[in-house]
Symmetry: C2
Subunit: 371 residues, 2 copies
């Protein structure tokens, strides 16, 4: 089988290749999926591209065995030390058919079925998966429908679940025009959860408003901070999920939440309001440090949030409920749209790589490993 690999060399070079490797047999509690489609998500690009300077990407290798290389900036290398020299598999999720299964009942039950799944190596012709991390696709759904049925849907649902579990009643979301953001907007509209969408450009604001979003704040507008306070007053949102994770945005959100909570004529308190304000950082679109300018008192938190630990904290019963919803609404609430479909080999094409590396709004790539 062929499998995409990402290598960081000691010479500060990223090298992508397609390797011929043995197809792995499933263990007792595993299934083997023939991968038909896998999305290119920002979380995949972090591992795939290792923050290399792809504007300097160069094609190499042979016709039969092409590679692409790109230099990695010096300051970035420190955070990559642990992966130097290891040609890593890539691809968080995908969809395909279970072609082999271990002896355990959960694994056997999936044999022959079409699934969306998390695998960690979905950028290859075959991939192992745990049955717990598989979502059996509903009748009639194909691999393209199911390719993004795990990470984004369960992340978006996980945000709403976290809101409820931690006693908040409204949400803020940054980079809100992303596929994930649009999904969250649909969930919040359906469930009546007040949502403040923060975007970075007017066309993103338009796109969300066309999809029914009520509160949209554009950080490129001069009125952004005032708009944000108004939206927070209207929604009473005290929990934000932030994909940006660098610069001043997380702190701006906390300050705006505090400004929305404290009445203008309230007596002065040097400790701020006693309403807890929380930002969970789940991405790193901006590699700069997080900068918090404290005008938000002492009832606040900023922290990391990831899907996998959320799933680990969630009861089996709740997980079934969430997965059933994803299956039932796969082509509506949880639909993803792709602008480009590429093969494993096309993923190594310099121009194509530079396009998907941009993560431009409205552009979304789907890898077809069998192609």
């Amino acid at each position: 089988m062929r499998q995409l690999r990402s290598l960081v060399t000691p010479e500060r070079e990223l090298r992508l290749s397609v390797e011929a490797v043995d197809t792995p047999p499933p263990g007792e509690r595993e299934v083997l999926v023939r991968v038909e489609a896998a999305p290119v998500n920002p979380s995949d690009l972090g591992l795939l591209l290792a923050m290399a300077d792809v504007s300097q990407a160069v094609a190499g290798g042979s016709l039969d065995d092409p590679t692409v290389t790109a230099p990695i900036p010096e300051p970035v290398m420190r955070s990559l030390a642990a992966r130097v020299g290891e040609a890593m598999t890539v691809g968080n999720e995908g969809a395909g058919v279970v072609v082999a299964a271990g002896a355990s009942p959960e694994a056997e039950a999936l044999l022959g079925h079409k699934v969306g799944f998390i695998g960690g190596a979905t950028y290859g012709e075959y991939c192992l998966a745990s049955p717990r991390m598989c979502l059996q696709l509903p009748e009639g759904a194909n691999a393209v429908d199911g390719a993004s049925s795990f990470v984004n849907p369960l992340t978006a649902l996980g945000m709403v679940e976290t809101m409820r579990n931690e006693g908040h009643t409204g949400l803020v979301h940054t980079a809100a025009a992303s596929n994930l953001g649009q999904m969250l907007n649909r969930i919040c509209l359906a469930d009546g959860v007040p949502l403040v969408n923060i975007v970075r450009r007017p066309e993103q604001a338009r796109l969300l408003r066309e999809q029914g979003a009520v509160h949209v704040c554009d950080s490129s507008e001069s009125t952004f901070e005032v708009d944000l306070v108004t939206a927070l007053k209207n929604t009473k949102a005290t929990l934000a999920f932030d994909a940006v994770g660098g610069g001043t945005l997380a702190g701006q959100i906390l300050n705006a939440m505090e400004a929305a909570i404290v009445a203008p004529d309230a007596p002065y308190s040097r400790y701020g309001s006693d309403v807890h304000k929380q930002v969970y950082v789940y991405g790193a679109l901006d590699p700069r440090p997080i900068e918090l300018r404290r005008r938000f008192g002492f009832a606040w938190g900023v922290g990391g949030w990831l899907l996998t630990p959320f799933l680990a904290r969630t009861s089996g019963e709740d997980l079934v409920r969430l997965r059933q919803r994803v299956a039932a609404e796969l082509t509506t609430t949880f639909a993803s749209h792709y602008t480009d479909q590429i093969s494993l080999r096309e993923a190594l094409d310099v121009e194509t790589l530079q396009r998907y590396a941009r993560q431009a709004t409205g552009e979304k790539f789907l890898l077809r490993p069998q192609g």
Copy 2:
């Protein structure tokens, strides 16, 4: 009665004065304390001095009615907007005798007794307090012993309680040579809790080591980051309490915790370790923004921590246990030492003010409102 007041004027001026005001009668669930001693803590100075430039302080008023004024820097004024024009009372805690009590049994029970207490206006001859916020001093203790019996002891105990409640097994403390820090060191030594003390100067490191501290890291040393990782490996501390709250220190602690957790030969994970690392910010010694350089994965949190919400979360039973410990160890574990005792009027003396405003290590002022 005389009472110290702190006023911020619209002209960006801080004005301190001693006002003659009516002695307030206690409500049903209140007591009136004749204040004999009140400490000057960093948390008091924030309110008292409003971040004014005290190097430019000027004496004013009359002989009978002295004042002191100092200019407030422009950038600071924004955060003070809510207190402009209001001559605020000052003083978080103190000790004295309950001279009047409301009709409720809890209040009446304290009449005639010597208490340490939280009041919010202890820089005055008399102050109201809630019985819940009073600690009856043990036989033989005087007001100087009891002046700091509430905030620092319960804050230090609250840090250890929080550590246990949230599943950590060791602590990091910044500004660790403070009165509070020395107290925490004594508690941790007594309770066998591994503690990493972070200080900013060699003499502070010496002071803590003389008091038996095992792990002391001096941020002025060139080896600080390496020392910190070593101390964190030895203590397995994953929770820090940070009084500094500005600059890069909180992020350095998280990065050092992550480096101590992840073995050098561990496989690369772009999400970092799954061990939760937490920093609680309980002060603001450094007014700069908090800057987090993320090399600590996604299992992390930074948040505000304050004594009052901690006490509100704590069960009555646990509170009794904590207060009994403070009373029993008032002159040992929880002893505070003062280098200067000043009257209300002396608090307005320009030179004296400039001295207590410095918050120098080893210097600690006690206000004697009856003097």
